[in-house]
Amino acid sequence: MYVSVKGGEAAIDNAHRLLADRRRGDRSVPALTLDQITEQLALGVDRVMSEGSLYDRRLAALAIKQARGDLIEAIFLVRAYRTTLPRFGFAEPVDTGAMLVERRISACYKDLPGGQLLGPTFDYTHRLLDEELEVDARIEPGRMREGASEPVTRIVDILGGEGLIEEEPGTNGEEPGDINQTPLEFPLSRAMRLQSLARGDEGFLLALGYSTQRGYARSHPFAGEIRIGEVEIEVYLPELGFAVPVGRVQLTECQMVNQFKGSAKLPPQFTRGYGLVFGQSERKAMAMALCDRALRAEELGEDIVAPAQDQEFVISHCDNVQATGFVEHLKLPHYVDFQAELGLVRTMRAEFERANGVFQQAQAESAIEKKEAAE
């Protein structure tokens, strides 16, 4: 009987073998290629890159394949890989104003320099299942704008020109913090919070952002601007004395513009909530921007009344790799602690029954006394 508890090693090996079998599934169906995943499940790949904190489409696709489509598992695989990579330094701040935009919309102005550009969006699709996709139907190529595009001014620069929105403090050339290199110690700077939010779980941030809209730390947001496109990454090389481009990445940026009535220190103006993520991930960028703004409550002198404003609550729980690990660790054996609790519950039940017995006996006795007194 007890012997059956043993044999963990063989059990683990067999479990891994079965997992590999199930991952491949029916062998008569062709295996997925990484190209198919990067090309046709691109938004899943983007999420894995974003929350995995590693911009590499091929590795993200491999992780998705290895994780059987479980995106949080894929994110975990990518994170575990990235932690083994050397850290060279940090890039110059990217200039999203110079982004080659594929999509850019603003909910604040009907028209603005650079125009409204819908791009590849689900927004105005009717969510009707498309049976044509069951087969590989011929798809027309997308139509591209001809000629040179005009510069796409960032809406915060338009508002900033009039002094209606708060100034964004620069970096002053100092090295930004790095959540991979320093332990989290609260309170966190905004830069550290934004780093955590950028890799935070989309679902968690979505729910928190939603809660601010429903009145838990309402911030009167307007989607000032959402833009998706490629930007150049530059790294400053001290040996050369200037920054050189090292590559391009696709980003989604969300500038949320929030009403602010002013405080003792600050005049009435619009304030900012900021979201920036790898790839095309608008929902995440918007949710991040709402959370960023909510987390600035203290800095702006607002009352902290809701979960979304509480940085310990939000930042400590937004990482899905941490969250899934700790929730799922409940699967591990807890025999010895459970044994301790078993002993305690047995003792307490015995005490309860003893006390209850005494109580019932006392009640019965007092009933007899009353009866006798009445007689």
Binding site: Y2, G8, E185, E312, V327, D337, A340, G343
Partner: protein, 293 residues
């Protein structure tokens, strides 16, 4: 003991040397301030958070090629996660591993302290899920750090007092808080309180790693460890009213094994190495014949 060839492609014991240095610095600080939780830049490991990443990072940072490693979970060497972590170090460090407590130089553990007393030169590495003993009284890190700094532990005593007022005794059975050298209140990790006395004045170095929470703390050898209690309600450990069914050991922590669906139970040592070495010495419990089949 078994030696293993190291898998190439990774640095010895997986972590790069810079990361190991950072962790060793945190460990040294932790040893210098027993019971104090030192923040460290915990890395993602190739096993999930909550599954021993803190202990694994501490072990990786202190492991040398001549070390002999033992890994236990719930006191046993053959529970799945212990097997998995032992295999990990066999692969990435190629060190010798053992199940014998006496032969090990480093013992990584989850939830138990071996029954046999540890000796000088051994290191016990604990996997810690929630390093903050005050966490369930005050969820905020900013507050609990202040409370530790000011030695403000009244809340903990009130909690224990309320237990007594409600139940007649303290209703904490594992992760029972201890005070270190009369200064810091420390979480002993979720070991049953049965093991608390073993931490006191232990000859071995005890290191605690919490990966997800990014904290390391330590008890140097011969450290004073006192389980919190009251004069009229002194600290007590669990007692079992029967010996181990396999080796007959008394005064050890037992696992309850369900034998059938009619209430049949047997109680056996949770420390498998302790149980096996006693059986090897010819010591027997009441069910040992049956269980050996």
């Amino acid at each position: 003991m078994t030696a293993h060839p190291q898998t190439s492609g990774y640095n010895f014991a997986y972590l790069d040397e810079q990361t190991k240095r950072m962790i060793r610095r945190a460990i040294l600080k932790a040893i210098a301030i027993p019971g104090y939780q030192v923040p460290f830049a915990s890395r993602e490991m190739p096993m999930p958070y909550g599954w021993g990443t803190g202990g694994v990072q501490v072990t990786a940072a202190i492991l040398g090629p001549r070390d002999v490693l033992k890994v236990i979970d719930q006191g046993a060497d053959d529970t799945t996660n212990a097997v998995s972590i032992r295999k990990f170090f066999e692969r990435v460090a190629g060190v010798e591993t053992t199940t014998r407590t006496a032969d090990a130089t480093i013992i990584q553990t989850r939830h138990r302290i071996p029954e046999a007393p540890l000796r000088e030169g051994q290191v016990l590495v604990y996997q810690v899920p929630i390093p903050e003993p005050l966490r369930f009284l005050e969820p905020r890190e900013t507050e609990t750090r202040k409370m530790h700094a000011l030695e403000e532990y009244g809340l903990m005593h009130v909690k224990l007092y309320e237990d007594i007022a409600r139940n007649g005794h303290i209703a904490t059975t594992y992760a029972y808080p201890v005070k270190i050298e009369g200064r810091y209140v420390m979480d002993p990790s979720p070991t049953p309180k049965f093991d608390n006395p073993k931490m006191h004045m232990s000859e071995a170095l005890q290191l605690f790693g919490a990966g997800r929470e990014k904290r390391i703390y330590a008890l140097p050898p011969y450290t004073d460890v006192v389980s919190l209690d009251f004069e009229d309600h002194p600290f007590e450990v669990q007692r079992f009213d029967r010996p181990c069914a396999l080796c007959g050991a008394e005064q050890v922590y037992l696992d309850e094994v369900v034998l059938d669906d009619r209430g049949g139970r047997m109680f056996v040592c949770s420390d498998t190495d302790h149980c096996e070495s006693r059986q090897a010495q010819g010591l027997r419990g009441e069910l040992s014949g049956e269980a050996a089949q």
